[in-house]
């Protein structure tokens, strides 16, 4: 009898082993939606650009891109695309500093046929020489030209990040540098795949109308990824600036001055205190919202630019997205201010005869105005009414972050990176509990304006005078056209005067030629 029981246990154990996959290092995030007409899988590798070896910046990006835009399972990339075309199924990869995320989407009734492609992209990439050449050519082109030419706003954002993390593994563009990308070989990509895309740093999520059997199949497949021991690289911390350190990137033919400024922040979504700081930040500079303070002061009252916002974590592709996307969790954090391009002297002179004598445009004034607003908030704190209105807004607004199945899944998976189960739900509870005192304590603890980095992308004609004005703390009176100036209320003019001479702790100003940016770490 004992023998029979033992045998039964073994058989049961075998049956279980056949049905249940070998466990992955992380729990699968499931979001079953029976009424959905599609299936979404997200597969995240905890590597990101911080996992690039020194001198091989861009290697994680190259590897992931070649997986997503190359052949797999012995099938050519073109043939895979042909197979997907009639179902409009698709997959793509996003590489950030600490994670690489593949997202697969397919109509539910085509999921079975799609599955082998998902599996092969992740487990059996062809790493074909011809695909490699194409992918690397695009990547090279991005770091050589596109990053400098397509958006001065993004350019200044990446330049700020480079200043903040210079010398560390968070500094470089995820695409790498002009020099490092040139040196990446196909053999290095293959080796990096085996080293950094393993069963030990992978996380799986599924949303929509997927079958349990397929999910288990995918879990089992991912468990056959290389069993390389994986120690996630520690992301470097932001450097401590000595006073306000400014880098002005002088670019031929720039039409305005694009500004980003920021400094290290010691908390992330993992910390409960983050919710309190989120309230202060939303009041000050909620992304793309007309009712936040910076926007009202710089754009609405003075119409200096298209918008002005502040952040307490990385916001991916802010020029495109109105709501924050998922898939960019980061442990090494900083807060920042985004001042969209303001006018340069050459433009103002050309537009208005009354401004013919000015020597610098609006960048210095705008920077002073933004920093002064932070100083005023730190000094005065948020009012009870603003606190309540902002908290109410946020508790409704954060529900909009995760609307589609793919977005919901993305936010749930990000939650786990921060040690949370459902960040948005937990955030709502934290917001509900937050007090005005906590908000004011958090903003005073985490925000200061004495030591910051500033990146400004501007025209070559603007750079020298702007640099001189900043380093000497020279008055920077706002230069309005007569049309606007004549109607400005007294309180605005009085505030302008205060802003024009507002002291900034600028200790260092460097002018960098556009071609010399992003040299390496």
């Amino acid at each position: 009898m004992k023998h029979i029981m033992h045998t039964l246990r073994i058989v049961a154990g075998l049956a279980l082993a056949a049905a249940a996959p070998v466990a992955l290092a992380t729990e699968t995030v499931e979001l079953k939606l029976e009424n959905s007409n599609k299936v979404v899988f997200k597969v995240r590798f905890d590597n990101g650009s911080v996992a690039d070896p020194e001198g091989k910046e861009g290697l994680t990006y190259a590897t992931a891109t070649l997986m997503a835009q190359g052949g797999a399972g012995g099938v050519a990339y073109a043939d895979i695309q042909d197979a997907l075309y009639p179902w409009a199924a698709a997959y793509a990869v996003n590489v950030d500093k600490q994670v690489t995320t593949f997202t697969f989407q397919v109509p539910a009734d085509k999921a079975q046929e799609f599955y082998p492609i998902v599996r092969n992209v992740l487990l059996a990439p062809n790493f074909d020489e011809q695909d490699f050449r194409r992918v690397m050519q695009q990547q090279q082109n991005y770091v050589d030209q596109v990053v400098r030419a397509s958006s001065d706003e993004d350019y200044s954002k990446f330049a700020l990040e480079h200043q903040l993390f210079r010398g560390g593994n968070m500094a470089h563009l995820v695409q790498g540098t002009s020099q490092s990308v040139q040196g990446i070989t196909l053999d290095e990509v293959k080796a990096h795949y085996r080293r950094a895309f393993t069963r030990n740093n992978v996380a799986l999520g599924a949303a929509g109308n997927y079958g349990q059997e397929m999910l288990e199949q995918l879990q089992a497949a991912l468990a056959t990824l290389p069993d390389t021991a994986w120690v996630a690289p520690e992301p470097s911390r932001a450097n401590p600036p000595n006073g306000i350190e400014v880098e002005i990137i002088a670019k031929e033919g720039a039409f305005g001055s694009a500004i980003f400024t920021g400094a290290q922040l010691g908390i992330t979504r993992a910390d409960d205190e983050f919710a309190a700081l989120l309230i202060a930040n939303s009041w000050m500079g909620e992304h793309r919202k007309s009712y936040s303070r910076l926007y009202q002061k710089i754009r609405e009252t003075r119409s200096m630019n298209y918008g002005d916002y502040s952040y307490i974590e990385w916001y991916d592709q802010g020029g495109s997205y109105q709501l924050p996307p998922s898939g960019v969790p980061r442990a090494s954090n900083y807060w920042s201010i985004w001042i969209r391009p303001v006018q340069i002297a050459a433009q103002l002179q050309a537009q208005y005869p009354e401004l013919a004598d000015i020597t610098t445009g609006h960048a210095h004034f705008a920077l002073r105005l933004a920093i002064r607003e932070f100083d005023l908030l730190i000094e005065n704190g948020l009012s009870e009414a603003d606190f309540e209105a902002t908290r109410t807004f946020l508790r409704s607004y954060i529900k909009l972050y995760a609307q589609s199945p793919s977005q919901q899944l993305g936010w749930l998976m990000d939650s786990r990176v921060y040690g949370r189960k459902d960040y948005l739900a937990e955030l709502d509870a934290l917001l509900a509990r937050a007090t005005l005192e906590e908000v004011n304590a958090a903003l005073r603890k985490h925000w200061q304006t004495d030591n910051m980095y500033v990146s400004i992308v501007t025209d070559v004609s603007e750079a020298p005078d702007l640099a001189g004005s900043l380093i000497s703390n020279a008055p920077s009176p706002m230069s309005y056209s007569n049309l606007v100036k004549s109607g400005l209320p007294e309180d605005v003019l009085a505030e302008d005067e205060a802003v024009a001479t507002y002291p900034l702790n600028v200790r260092k100003v460097t002018i960098v030629d556009s071609s010399d940016t992003f040299p390496g770490r």
């Binding site: 009424n35 007409n37 073109a78 695309q81 042909d82 075309y85 009639p86 179902w87 409009a88 989407q105 109509p107 011809q130 050449r133 194409r134 050519q137 082109n141 030209q145 596109v146 400098r148 030419a149 397509s150 958006s151 706003e153 039409f255 305005g256 694009a258 919202k289 007309s290 009712y291 009202q296 754009r299 609405e300 009252t301 003075r302 119409s303 200096m304 630019n305 298209y306 918008g307 020029g319 109105q322 709501l323 969209r340 391009p341 303001v342 006018q343 209105a389 109410t392 508790r395 409704s396 607004y397 529900k399 909009l400 609307q403 589609s404 199945p405 056209s481 049309l483 606007v484 109607g487």
Partner: protein, 455 residues
Amino acid sequence: MMNRLNLAAAALALLLTGAAYGAATDSPEPTRILPYPIHQHVLDNGLNVVTVPFDSPGLAAFYIVTRVGARNEVEEGVTGFAHFFEHMMFRGTDRYSKAEYSDALKSTGAAANANTSQDRTEYHMTGNAEMLDLMFELEADRFMNLNYSEHDFKTEAGAVKGEYTKNFASPYSRISEKLLETAFTTHTYGHTTMGYFEDIVNMPNQFEYSRKFFDRYYRPEYNTILVVGDVTPQRVNALAEKYFGAWERGDYVSEVPPEPPQQETRFTHLQDGSIPPYFSMNYKGPAFSDQEMDMPALDVLSSIVFSNTSDLYKKLVLEEQKVRFIGGGAGDSRDPNLFSIQVSMVDKADMGYVRAEIEKAIAKVQTEGVDASELQRTKSHLKYRFAMQMDTPDAIAGSLSHYIQLTGDPESINRLYALYDAVSQEDILEVANAYLQADRLTIATITEDAKGPFE
């Protein structure tokens, strides 16, 4: 083929009389790509109210589609005005000052914004469905009673200039401006939605015109209300009656000058070495129609000939790697617009070769047509792609808004996909020969050289 301008005029006339859809229609049609009923209700003043209930607990997307855009900027010196006016819509009323409006908007907790294109201005709020009452109140107030000071008007022009400034960094924006003014000599599609910089700089002087603009277009007959999400048509219609019922109909009809036929290939060039060499081939195409086969056939053609699975893409991008990117297609618009093929090159020396390859691919469709199985695969692709995208109230509202701007009727979406189903090999042969001809072509180029490579 029916004259498209007449068709557009007929559609507008129907809309102005409020007779386009009857008083209230719940339309069950046989082939419907959108699996949700579209409820339409026209108020006595001609305002069409569209509701699409969708399973999104607590969430609703509230859109107002104003059928005025850069296309309507027919007068001298006012390019970019529709877009500028969109900015002014956030500048307050007698009831809600701009500060009070901001506070009230914030209290909705919604994601709210607006944008303008050639044919329309779109105002949208997505948020808590329980806040719909306040959303209606705020929108009705500003659409009916907008009132801003002359100073606010002058000031806002700076923000538009800031928007131009941020966009101007991209050489692609600059070539787009040059392309439109080369391709269109008469029609208002000849300028971008942003407008010419000199007109933007001069905007502060157009206060009087701005009042006229509001009076012309911010009227029931130019607008459609669209709500998608956790709502019922009864609730939406009642809110519309309550807040927009008193809105007075206007009588202005915009006369947009038709573009004369083009006689020969035109060229425009931008000297800029900061990005990879680039060119686009832009053929004068048709206007959007949910009745004629031209646009659906061109959409199918562009997917077969220029998408990532096309022979051209495989050859130029994947195999030869002379091209970084190639894509093509027709933009939907109310009047005839451009069918554009865009190419980002690796080496400018290959531009002539790549252009010849594109022309060869076009010539092949013009003589041999397309393969029947490829046609079927493309129809499947279009249907699945659409179905997969419709997974949030915002996505559905955004899509319906697109068709409302074109025809005034959200059912156009279902009619268009029914047409896709019916596209034949003969249709593709016909549109390839009708539209993809050298005398309809404008080529725009960007290289580091002073002179364009094809001139």
